[in-house]
């Protein structure tokens, strides 16, 4: 899967039972609708492939505005609505060097530690 939403680029592929995505660029969206739909596509793909895990490498995303953060919250809502047997674990790979990732992604993951975690790595 390869797609772009504004200047945010999303590349992904299955790796065994994991769906691995890498996002690059910046997500400064006027309207979060298109990113919400793209993340919903990712969610549907993960369910269709019976993925146990989805990894999203965000280290190279230099900026994300609050509208884009809201689209991620929408994705988390979809994961929560998924019945337990089908639910996958979402790991956000983040950079400690990027303040927005350190604080806001960590906050997002803290709401659902059983299904979402943040793994900090160097940029």
């Amino acid at each position: 899967m390869n797609t772009s939403v504004g200047s945010l680029h999303i590349d992904g592929d299955m790796d065994g039972a994991s769906l691995r995505l890498k996002m690059t660029g910046a997500a400064d969206l006027r309207d979060g609708g298109e990113l919400r739909l793209s993340l919903l596509d990712v969610h549907r793909e993960a369910l269709a492939q019976h993925a146990h895990e989805v990894w999203v490498d965000l280290k190279a995303v230099e900026f994300m505005n609050s509208t884009a953060l809201g689209a991620f919250v929408g994705w988390m809502t979809e994961i929560h609505k998924t019945p337990g047997a089908d639910r996958y674990h979402l790991t956000l790979v983040a950079s400690k060097e990027r303040r927005w990732q350190r604080i806001s992604l960590h906050a997002l993951a803290s709401f659902a530690p059983e299904t979402i975690s943040v793994l900090f790595d160097q940029a």
């Binding site: 910046a26 400064d28 006027r30 900026f63 505005n65 609050s66 509208t67 953060l69 988390m76 990027r98």
Partner: protein
Amino acid sequence: MQSPLANRAPLQLPLPDVWALLAGVREQVARHLAWVDDDLRQSAVMVASELVENAVKYGGRPASLKVVVDDHTVCVEVRSQVSSESAARETVARVEAIRAAPDRHALYLERMRALLGAPPGGSMQLGLLRICGEGEFDLACHLEQNQLHLIATRELS
């Protein structure tokens, strides 16, 4: 102790009416604050971006951004023409509510938690809370001569 940042000329920019130019605004703010420690610079860039987005989305023209660094604070100020008086008053009220909160970071987290499970498409109202919760800036807001002023300040560490 005298900060090496004192008395630098402020950065003043007329704001674009074109969303795609916002990345350039962030770059200019980052360059202007190249002296500041990395953590504070990243916060200020986020704050400027969120405030400018608000002005581009909801404000009228002319609109402008000013970034001022003195011995003690970084100040990011966005002025925009009021395009809807009721919306402007709502913004003032929201900023007052944020200012009155004892823990602004907790308020940001509460809003994110509320969005989790909310139906898609509604108003998120996350940007101003992010400025305080993630950016650790104080917010002030007032209406003056049909202009909305949003001012975010943070002390230099």
